[in-house]
């Protein structure tokens, strides 16, 4: 296995993979294969992104403290998924990412998706959910500084993340239907998903407004007390 030693190069790769490599593969896949194969390309891309991330995580020496904190946050996210209509997963993922970094955020989001699907049903969409929630955390981690300073920015990010999650999952819904990416079907899917989209965005804003400060304090306290 290749170990990338330079820290800067690692960071470049970490940002380049979601922003450049994955869209490039998607585009190439769309051009090379006919539209019936789009679903293979999309699933392959999702799985590959997750594998890349896992491989990076596996190679690093992450302290067991950090590992356990991630698993605790995952369990809290999962416990919250039983609340009807309101889902605190994204909010908790974002909060984790703000205080523990993007990688921890990605893990909490992705792992909560797997974990809760043990109860709500696993499926090929698990990979997409993992990616969608993981990205929510990753980006929150990248923009942690401005998001921590301004509360309204955090709430806007939460709302955007909720809408983005719904839009992202609807791409999967349409692709699964098997006619390639039909814009009409996509609009239809978005339209029928409006109540869900609204509930995602609303619960993100609500939980971020309620939890961001107290939870941030808790995580900060743990960080200073134990030096995670």
């Amino acid at each position: 296995m290749i170990v990338i030693r330079s820290r800067e190069l690692r960071n470049v790769i970490r940002v380049a993979v979601p922003f450049a490599v994955i869209p490039a593969i998607t585009l190439a896949g769309a051009l090379v294969f006919d539209q019936k194969r789009h679903i293979i390309v999309s699933l392959a891309v999702a799985v590959m992104a997750l594998l890349l991330f896992t491989a990076g995580f596996e190679r690093k020496t992450t302290g067991s403290r950090r590992l356990v904190i991630v698993s605790v946050m995952t369990a809290l996210c999962f416990a919250g998924r039983f609340i009807p209509f309101l889902k605190p997963i994204s909010a908790l993922t974002i909060i984790t990412a703000l205080y523990l970094g993007g990688e921890a955020g990605f893990l909490v989001g992705a792992m909560s998706a797997v974990l809760s699907n043990f109860y709500f049903g696993q499926g090929p969409w698990t990979a997409f959910q993992m990616l969608a929630w993981g990205m929510t955390g990753l980006f929150a981690g990248i923009f942690a500084e401005p998001l921590k300073c301004r509360k309204w920015l955090l709430l806007v990010y939460g709302a955007l993340a909720g809408v983005g999650y719904s839009f992202f999952m609807d791409i999967w819904t349409v692709l699964w239907y098997g006619e390639g990416f039909s814009f009409k079907l996509y609009l239809g899917a978005l339209f029928t998903a409006i109540p869900y989209t609204a509930s995602y965005a609303a619960s993100n804003v609500l939980f971020l407004a309620l939890l961001a400060k107290p939870f941030g304090d808790k995580l900060n306290r743990i960080k200073t007390k134990y030096g995670v």
């Binding site: 019936k36 194969r37 679903i39 293979i40 896992t54 995580f57 596996e58 992450t62 302290g63 067991s64 403290r65 590992l67 356990v68 904190i69 991630v70 698993s71 605790v72 995952t74 369990a75 809290l76 999962f78 416990a79 893990l107 792992m111 797997v114 974990l115 699907n117 043990f118 049903g121 696993q122 499926g123 090929p124 699964w176 239907y177 098997g178 006619e179 039909s182 009409k184 079907l185 239809g188 309620l210 107290p214 939870f215 808790k218 995580l219 743990i222 134990y226 995670v228």
Partner: protein
Amino acid sequence: MRSFSEFDPVALTVWFFSVTGVAMFCGHPLLMAISLAGAVLFFAVRNGTKHLRSHIFFIALFAVLALANPLVSHNGATVMFVLNDRPITLEALLYGVNSAAMIVGVLYWFRSLTQIMTSEKVLCVAGTFSPKLALVLSMALRSVPMFARRAKQVSDAQKAMGLYSEDNIVDDLRGRMRVFSIISTWALENGIITADSMTARGYGTGRRSQLRRFRFTAADGVFTLVTLALLGVTAAAIATDSLAFTFYPRIDIAVSGTLGICGAIAYGALVLLPIFIETEVSLRWRYLQSKI
């Protein structure tokens, strides 16, 4: 032979992904019919008449998915009738039925997968790829009931202190938030202590073992080989266009040559493999029981 769910997790994973992979990525109507029928049969064999509500949900979903396509897609040569100046075609309807069969079939497969691949088995498979993530996952799984127990204790204590009233919604919510806050502080602290204890006991110095021992036996090997062989035949038939199909402008479903027929039969055998095993096991069970 053991019952199907007792096979090695890796063998089960290979079989599930072979079946659902072909179902999701091929789209040939014959294979979709086999997949849907096999999935429903498998689910019914395992669960009997239970889960009636799931069946009703899946039937409704099938209808919605099948009817959605002709409303948005107006390709196809055979116009059945015109709705809002848009032609509703037979081809688009059948395409919708095919897509619905694929989606509902895969949903049924995954319903059975969730039943068979318990979290323990998933952790075993995940642990071979990424021990760290498997650890995070298994600790989170264990934390959930622990938090629930702890939350009960905390809220009981709060009640005893007179801090918690349930007749007032605002007060109730406040109380719940307080319990949640206490739980999360405790969970984080407790996590750190767990982590330190793990390090002290040598976490990360050796290979992680499983609670239950899974052994990849000869039967698992044979099962995996048969699965891969059947998948190979089906994949060869699909790759060489022996199982080709088009819906637009006219429906043309081809099963050409020996390879096409073999591919379809192989997929049918792949789908029926666990049902054979389950039937064999239950017959033997009945036979042995009657002797006692």
